[in-house]
Symmetry: C2
Subunit: 279 residues, 2 copies
């Protein structure tokens, strides 16, 4: 079968054998934001050229309003069985693709997840999992079902402040500065709240208290610190890009929280199971 | 004398009589971001054409690195006497202007203020004053001196999220929606923290729980709510633009905090006093 992780900024295709092992993989930057409307079949077909396997199971933003087609919503608690029953079929030429539904939750306001549900369920562990990113997800899994989850805009707010705010004007590119990042994590626990702590990125720079090459790391520490402090946790289980996982683990360490990294290819495992369930 | 409030986006000039009463005023959009380097004397001279009064006392971002000249820093506790001794002189033709220094504070990180210090001191009341804006200031005044203060990036973060984030994509222009604003203020007290609450602007919209014309007001309520909740206050005294003051008063009301609005022209009064001290 073919497993496809199609997100906002990248397209990752995996060819799997009958045991679910990855025998080939191809990655491109044709995330959904780089695909013209109506061109999703062409882009995918080109990417999986020469792979004639079936089924093709896809997860991620490809199932959003800005993607190939909007997938149905499956409310929490949601397990692989519920996802399997609500796959959205797309066809092109003689081929068929199946898009994993969106998981929706509702505490006091609704929340949605596209792509992280297969990573969290594929990990096959119970408990709370953090998937850091543009929109970080905190997912609670129990008996193979997603009980509840919440989203934090940490990555997007970081990028916005760096690119468009007055904080970004004084920043210079530089290698990640671990000390400045740690300072930011500690700062996030002081009085005044996030909106106040952010302004310190500027004022510390103005008063020569922070080098301009270190201020992006300090900002990152403030934001990740606020995200972690908003959850009362004793242990942090992480799935994600290695650099980001290392950053969150560092922040957790400063807060006295033990952390561990789970295999980031768990999503492919869950897509394989969804494919098997179809057979 | 002439009092000048020269900020980022506007230039306000006031001609005062010998009692400090405003006898004439002129406002333009020639804030410091709209003035080419070296053109500050020309812009001011044109704006006060026909007013031959002296002294000319100026406050605001005109005294920043991006302004006419960077004014000296006066640390807290700072009163009018300390400001008066550190006025920065600028000259052009046969005229002289005096720029009010920057007030700096340092709790665990430094903070700075340009322009709000004359408004807070001009109010001539002791206690905590909130000056909402792009960078909201919370100023503690005691015996006519600024004891300490802090800055919150509330207004800038609101504008950034509206213009550049995924939240802004679903927003439609509309009249301010008081109910949505109030919902946002209430939401700001729930678990999960600001970075989580922000994402609800998107998900409530996605799931038809929030109209796109109301989502900017909901976002505003979340941010102002977080700002107010970060301070433990029984009463809120506000100085600022009437619309913004009304918004903060509404949020305070939801949190059970009494609020009152102070005269927003207090800054001119303080500039008059600084001018008198020179005589």
């Amino acid at each position: 079968m073919i497993a496809v992780d199609w997100g906002t900024s990248s397209l990752r295709c995996y060819r799997l054998d009958e045991h679910g092992a990855i025998v080939d993989s191809r990655t491109s930057n044709e995330g959904i934001l780089n695909v013209a409307p109506g061109k999703f079949p062409d882009v995918l077909q080109k990417q999986i050229h020469g792979w004639d396997d079936a089924p093709i199971v896809m997860s991620g933003m490809v199932g959003s309003r800005q993607g190939w087609v909007e997938a149905p919503y499956v409310p929490c608690p949601a397990g692989l069985d519920g996802l399997s029953k609500n796959l959205k079929k797309v066809t092109w030429g003689k081929r068929t693709g199946l898009i994993v539904p969106v998981v929706s939750g509702r505490e006091s306001v609704p929340d949605v997840m596209r792509g992280e549900e297969v990573q969290a369920l594929g990990a096959e562990v119970d408990g709370l999992i953090c998937l850091p990113g543009t929109h970080s997800k905190w997912v609670e899994v129990k008996n193979g079902r997603i009980e509840r989850f919440s989203t934090h805009m940490t990555g997007e707010v970081y990028a916005l402040l760096k690119q468009h705010s007055i904080l970004g004007r004084m920043m210079q590119e530089g290698a990640p500065d671990h000390d400045a990042f740690s300072d930011g994590v500690r700062r996030s626990g002081e009085e005044g709240g996030l909106l106040h702590h952010l302004f310190g990125v500027r004022t510390r720079g103005l008063l020569d208290d922070l080098k301009s090459a270190a201020s992006a790391s300090y900002l990152s520490g403030i934001l990740v610190g606020h995200e972690l402090r908003s959850r009362a946790i004793a242990e942090l289980r992480l799935i994600g890009e290695p650099e980001l996982v290392a950053l969150y683990a560092r922040a957790a360490g400063i807060l006295g929280i033990a952390s561990m990294s789970l295999d980031p290819t768990t999503g492919v495992r869950a897509l394989f199971k969804l494919g098997q369930a179809l057979a």
